[in-house]
Amino acid sequence: MKARIHILYADQLTWGLSTVFRQAVDIRYQPLYIIDMDSASSEDFETIIDEILEEIPCRQKQISTLVSLFGKRAHCTPGAIFLYGHASTGKSLVVNTLMDKLKLPFVILNCVECYSQRFLYEHILNSLHQTDLFAVNESVSRIKCENMNDFIRLFKQVLSQKGLDKETVYIIMDKAERMRDMESNILPAFLRLQELSSSNVCVILLSEIVWEKFRWGTGFAEPYVLHFPEYKKDELLQILSKGCPTDFPESCYVMYLNLVLSVFHHVCRDLREIQHLVNLNFMKFAEPIRNGEATSKDSKKLWKNIEPHLKKALPTVYLREVSSSQWQRYQAENAGDTEQENTSQNLQGLSHRCHVDLPYYTKYLLIAAYLASYNPAKTDKRFFAKHTGKKTKKISQTAKFRWEASNHVLGPKAFPLDRLMAIFYSIVEGKVAPTANIFMQITSLVSLHMLTLDPRDDQIITPKYKCLVSLDLIKSVARTVNFDVVRYLYDFV
C-alpha cells in the first residue's frame, strides 16, 4: 500500500512532464481506486462514487479523473487543479458534489467577492477555523491576516489546530480568472501553496477560460488542467430528462424535451437557459393532457399545440424578462382569447420594451443629439440652413459611393453642447426659451444613459456629448412628434 502512495507522489514530483502523465490519467480514467486495507470503507467509497455518477450524468470521465487525483483522504494530491469549460458545464456541480459526498475538508471561495487580498485570506482561514462571528461566547475571535506570508503561517497553524494536517484540504476558487486582476503574487502563490506551506493542500481553480490566458509573470507552477466540454444535444436531453415530474410519463417528457431542443438548440446551448425554457413552457405543453384533450401518445397534436408558444419565446431567449410564474399567468390570461388577439397582445407585451415616453422638448433634444452624433458637422449647414436645395443631390450620390464609411457603422461621435442646441432650435417647432429646464433635461438624458458625457475634454467649459440610443428608438421617438428623422441623416440621404 505504501509503495503505491509513493509511486503516486513520485508522479507528482515529475509534474513538469505532465503531458505524459496526463495521457496516463486519460487512459486509466476508468475507476482506479486505491484499495484500502479496510475493505468495508472501500465498498462504501465505491457506492458513493456510483451515486455521484448516477446523480451527474455525462460527466463520468471528469469525475473519475478527479477522484483518482484526489485518492484517499490522506493521499497527497496535485498542488493545483485547473478546471475549465463554458458556463453551466457542471464544473462547480461536480466539485461541490464530490466534496459533499466524500465529506472532504474544503473551502469554497468566489473570487468575484474578493475585492481585497485581505478578504481572500481571512475568508479561507475563518472558514477552515469555522469561526462563528456571532457566537455566544466571545473568546473566539476572528483570525486576521494581511498578507501572503502571514497567510501561510496562519494556514499551517489552523490546520494543526483543527487536526486537518492528516488529510488533504481543498481550496476551491470559483471564477478564478479574477485572480489575474489581483496582486500579482496571489495566483503564483496559490498554485504553489502545497509547496510553500508544506502541507497537504489542493487548490482547485474553476474558470471559463483556458489556462493559457493565465500565464503572465513568473513563478507559476503548472496546474493539472481538466477540460469540461460542452454538452452535446443527446447529453442535454439525458440531463434534462432527469427533471421529469413524477406524475408525468417519462417518454412523453422526453418527447417534449426533443421538441424544445429542436426549436432552441440552434440558438442556445446553455443548459441553464434551456432548463429555464423547458420549465417555462411545460405547463402549456401538459395542458391538453391534463385537460384530457389529448393523450401522451398524441405527439402530433401536442406539437401543434406547443409550437406557436415556443416560436413566440424564441425572440426573447436569454432575456429573462418574465419569470416562469408571470409567464404562466400571462399564458393563462391569453388562453381564452382568439389566436389573432393572442399574438397581437403577445407582441405588445414583448416588444413593449422598446418604448420610452419622454417629455416633448426632451424628445427633440434626443433627436438633435442623435443627428449631431451621426452627421458630420460640416453637413449641418446643408440640413438645417434654408435654401440650399441644390447641393443635396450631388452629395447624396457621393454618400452612396462611400457607404463603407457610413457613420452608423463607425458609431456615434462626440459633439459640443452649442451644436446640439443649434440643431435643437432649428428642428423644434415654435419658439423655445433657453430655460434652465431645457438644460436640466440634457443632464437627465445623461443620467438615463441616452447621452453620455465625453470624459476627454473639459466637462465644464466645453462639455461634449455622445448619443447612445439606437436608430430604431430614435425613429420611434421621432414618429411620436411627427418628425422625419431619416430625412436629416447624412447616411440615408
Binding site: E113, H276, V322, S323, A422, P434, M440, I461
Partner: protein
C-alpha cells in the same frame, strides 16, 4: 496639574440653539407686514389642507402600484428555509427573484416614490430592506457596506434583541455578504425556534424575512459593480433569501445593456409597470385644482404654464405640486385681499372685521368697478360710499363665487364627457384642456366649442344615449346640491329616448307617404321646368325624424346649460381674490432662463442700472460698464478673438478721439480691459486657447 497649559490656538465649534426661522423675522413691522401675517395664516391653512389631500392621493396611487410588488417580494422567498441546508443545496438552478419596476423618466419624482416603497416594504414584508443609489456605489466594497449597514443597523431588529447585536459595526467585521449571511442565520434561526413552538400559524410566514435590496437608479450603476454584486449575491442565495428590486427609468432593455447573459441568467425577473405620471397628474388636477373645495384657484396662464412645464420639460408631478404651492404662497403674500379667499363659512366673519381701507381696496378692483357700473344707477353711490351696503354686496359676491365653483366643475365634467370622444377632439382629450379654455375666456364663444356642438348634432342614437347616461352619472356624483334639477331634466330626456321607438314606427309611415309624394313628379314639358321643380324640392326643408328632433332638443338644452354655468371666471366680480394669474413671477421662479438674463444685463445695462443715461439707439457708449462694452465688442468677432485688436477697440470706445494715442495706451485702461475680459471668462463667454497666441476662443453663439 494645570490642564490648560496648551499653547495651541484652536477653533471650537459651539452648537448654539437651533434657530427656527419665524415669520416675524422676515416681515417688517410696518403695515404691510401686519397684513401679511393675517393672510399668512389663511394661506397656511389652505396649503395644509391641500397638502394632506395630495398625500392621500399619492398613497392611494402608490398602494395600487406597489401591491403587486409587495406580494411578489413576500412570496418569492416563502419557500426559503435554513433548517435543511441539504435540500436547498441540491437545487442547482437557483435564480434571484427580481422585480423590475419600470418607473418612467420623471426622475425628480423617483426619490419620493422609492422612499414610500421602502417604508411599505419595511412595514409589510420584511425589516431587512436596503436601498442603494448609484452615487454611493462606486465599487463593490461600498455597495456591500451600504447594504450591510442598512440591513444590520435596522432599529426594528435591534430593539427586541440583546445589546450585543450593536457591536456589529463596520469596523470590526469584514464587509462581505458572508458576514450578513452569518448574521442572518444567527438572528433568525436561533431566535425563532422557540417562537415557532408557541404560535405555529401566523409566525411561519415571516419566519425568514427576505433581504430586499432596492436599486433606485439602476441605469446609472457602473456595470462591473452591479454585475459583481449580483454574482456575489447569487452565490449566497442558499443562506440568505435575497430579493432585488430594480428601479428602471427607461425600458427593461436597460437591464440587458448593463448585464451580460452570464449575470442576467442568475436573475428571475418579473416586470412591474408604474402608471405613467400623466395619469397621476390628471388625478391630481381633478382632485386639487378642479374642485370647489379649495377656493384658491390658479388662472389660465399660470395653469397653462405649469402644464407646459410638465408636458414639455420634465413629466414631474412633484414639480407641478411645487409650482402650485408657489402660486398659492405668492398669491397670499402679494394679493392684499387674499385673506378673503377662504372657506365659505368664514366669509361673513372675515368681511365683518374688514376696515374701511380694505373696503376701499376692493372698490379699486377692476372687476368690482365693472360690477358697480353694471348696477342700477341708484345703487352705485351706495356701493361706492356706504361701507355697510358695500360689505353686504361683497359677502353676496363672494358667496356667489363659491356657488359658481360648485356648479362649474360638474357641468365642466359633463361637457368633457360629451366632447372627449368626438372625432379630432376639437376641445381636447383631457378634462384639463376644457378647463383651461374655460379659464381663458367664455368657452361657448370659441370656435372649437361651436365646432364640437355641430359634431354633437350629428351623433348616432346609441352614442348620444351613452353620453347622456354618463353625464347623468357625473352630475349625480357626490352631493352636488347646486344643480339638482339638471339630472332630473336629463333623465326626462332619457325617458323620451325609450319611448322613441314607438314614434319611429309612426314616422316611418309618414316618411313613406312623403317619399311617394316625391316620386310623383309631374311630367314636365321641358328641361328648364324640371330643373326648377327639383330645385324647389331641394329647398323644401327635409323633415326631421323624431330622433333628430329629440337630439337637437337635447343639444340645445346642453348648450343653454353650458352657457349658463361655464362663464369665464375673469368676467365675474372679485375674481382677483380667488384667481392667481401672475405669470411673470411664476415664470421667473420656475422656468428661469439664466442665460438670457445674463445676456440681457450685458447688452442692456440700463435695464438693471437706471443711473446710466444712454439712448436705446446708441449701441456703444463710454458710459456703460466696461464688461458691457467688452461683451458687445466680442459679439462682432468670429471664433477666435485677437486680444490686441479687442483692446484697441475698447480704448477707442472709452476715450474720446483727441486723447487717443495708439502707441502709448493708458495702463489703467489696459487693466480695466483685462478685468472685464476675465469677468467675461468667468461668465463663460470666452476661454483662453493654446491654438493661437494672444487669442481667446468665443464660446457662445446667438441665443444658445
Amino acid at each position: 496639574m494645570d490642564t490648560a497649559g496648551s499653547v495651541s490656538k484652536g477653533c471650537f465649534a459651539f452648537k448654539g440653539k437651533k434657530k427656527v426661522a419665524k415669520l416675524e423675522n422676515y416681515l417688517s413691522d410696518d403695515e404691510f407686514g401686519q397684513s401679511v401675517v393675517k393672510r399668512h395664516q389663511v394661506g397656511q391653512d389652505m396649503w395644509t389642507e391641500i397638502d394632506t389631500q395630495i398625500q392621500i392621493l399619492q398613497e392611494e396611487l402608490n398602494s395600487r402600484i406597489f401591491d403587486d410588488l409587495l406580494t411578489f417580494a413576500a412570496d418569492s422567498c416563502s419557500t426559503f428555509t435554513l433548517d435543511n441546508l441539504e435540500t436547498s443545496k441540491t437545487m442547482v438552478y437557483r435564480e434571484i427573484p427580481t422585480a423590475a419596476l419600470v418607473t418612467g423618466v420623471n426622475t425628480p419624482d423617483h426619490g419620493v416614490m422609492f422612499a414610500t416603497l421602502v417604508s411599505l416594504l419595511k412595514e409589510r414584508v420584511s425589516p431587512l430592506v436596503a436601498i442603494l443609489k448609484s452615487k454611493d456605489c462606486q465599487n463593490v466594497k461600498n455597495t456591500i457596506s451600504k447594504t450591510l449597514s442598512q440591513m444590520v443597523d435596522n432599529p426594528q431588529l435591534l430593539h427586541d434583541e440583546d445589546e450585543k447585536e450593536e457591536e456589529l459595526t463596520q469596523k470590526n467585521l469584514p464587509l462581505t455578504l458572508s458576514t450578513l449571511a452569518q448574521w442572518y442565520k444567527h438572528k433568525f434561526k436561533s431566535k425563532l425556534s422557540p417562537k415557532k413552538r408557541r404560535s405555529k400559524g401566523d409566525d411561519l410566514k415571516h419566519k425568514y424575512p427576505p433581504a430586499i435590496v432596492v436599486l433606485q437608479d439602476f441605469e446609472s450603476f457602473l456595470p462591473h459593480v452591479i454585475q459583481d454584486f449580483i454574482t456575489i449575491a447569487s452565490s449566497y442565495l442558499h443562506q440568505l433569501p435575497i430579493v432585488f428590486v430594480f428601479g428602471i427609468a427607461t425600458t427593461i432593455s436597460a437591464v440587458h445593456s448593463l448585464l451580460p447573459n452570464a449575470v442576467s441568467s442568475l436573475l428571475c425577473m418579473e416586470k412591474f409597470m408604474a402608471p405613467p405620471s400623466s395619469e397621476y397628474l390628471t388625478m391630481l388636477i381633478n382632485q386639487i385644482v378642479m374642485t370647489p373645495e379649495y377656493p384658491f384657484k390658479i388662472g389660465a396662464r399660470v395653469f397653462q404654464l405649469l402644464l407646459d412645464i410638465f408636458l414639455y420639460h420634465d413629466f414631474s408631478v412633484l414639480n407641478f405640486v411645487k409650482g402650485f404651492r408657489f402660486s398659492l404662497l405668492d398669491h397670499y403674500l402679494n394679493m392684499p385681499l387674499s385673506h378673503l379667499c377662504c372657506p365659505l363659512k368664514e366669509i361673513h366673519k372675515k368681511v365683518k372685521v374688514m376696515d374701511a381701507e380694505e373696503v376701499e381696496t376692493i372698490r379699486q378692483l377692476p372687476s368690482f368697478m365693472r360690477f358697480v357700473e353694471e348696477n342700477p344707477a341708484s345703487n352705485q353711490p351706495k356701493l361706492l360710499l356706504d361701507e355697510k351696503f358695500a360689505k353686504e354686496a361683497i359677502v353676496d359676491l363672494l358667496e356667489k363665487m363659491h356657488t359658481y365653483h360648485m356648479t362649474l366643475f360638474p357641468v365642466l365634467q359633463c361637457l368633457h364627457k360629451l366632447v372627449c370622444k368626438l372625432p379630432k377632439h376639437p376641445l381636447g382629450k383631457q378634462q384639463r384642456e376644457v378647463y383651461s379654455l374655460v379659464l381663458e375666456s367664455n368657452i361657448f364663444e370659441t370656435d372649437a366649442y361651436k365646432q364640437s356642438m355641430e359634431l354633437l348634432r350629428m351623433l348616432a342614437k346609441d352614442e348620444l344615449e351613452e353620453m347622456l347616461k354618463q353625464s347623468i352619472d357625473v352630475l349625480m356624483e357626490k352631493d352636488r346640491k347646486a344643480i339638482t334639477y339638471l339630472p332630473t331634466d336629463l333623465s326626462l330626456f332619457m325617458d323620451r329616448f325609450n319611448t322613441l321607438d314607438d314614434l319611429i314606427g309612426e314616422e316611418e309611415d309618414k316618411g313613406a307617404e312623403d317619399e311617394s309624394s316625391l316620386k310623383v313628379i309631374p311630367k314636365q314639358k321641358n328641361m328648364y321646368e324640371l330643373r326648377q321643380t327639383l330645385k324647389e324640392m331641394k329647398k323644401k326643408k327635409k323633415k326631421l325624424s323624431p330622433y333628430e328632433k329629440l337630439r337637437s332638443e337635447i343639444i340645445d338644452y346642453f348648450d343653454s346649460v353650458f352657457r349658463k354655468y361655464l362663464i369665464c371666471p375673469k368676467n365675474l366680480p372679485l375674481h382677483e381674490i380667488f384667481y392667481y394669474d401672475a405669470i411673470g413671477t411664476v415664470k421667473k421662479y420656475l422656468n428661469a432662463s439664466p442665460r438670457s438674463a445674463t445676456q440681457l444685463a450685458l447688452s442692456n445695462p440700463q435695464y438693471h442700472l437706471q443711473s446710466i443715461n444712454c439712448d436705446e439707439e446708441e449701441n456703444l457708449s463710454s458710459a456703460m460698464p466696461d464688461i458691457c462694452i467688452v461683451y458687445k465688442l466680442h459679439l462682432e468677432c468670429g471664433m477666435f478673438i485677437n486680444l490686441y485688436d479687442w483692446l484697441q477697440a475698447f480704448i477707442t470706445v472709452i476715450s474720446s478721439d483727441a486723447e487717443f494715442d495708439p502707441k502709448n495706451p493708458d495702463q489703467v485702461l489696459q487693466a480695466r480691459f483685462i478685468r472685464a475680459v476675465s469677468e467675461l471668462q468667468f461668465l463663460g463667454f470666452i476661454m483662453p486657447t493654446k491654438r493661437k497666441t494672444d487669442h481667446v476662443v468665443r464660446l457662445t453663439w446667438g441665443n444658445c
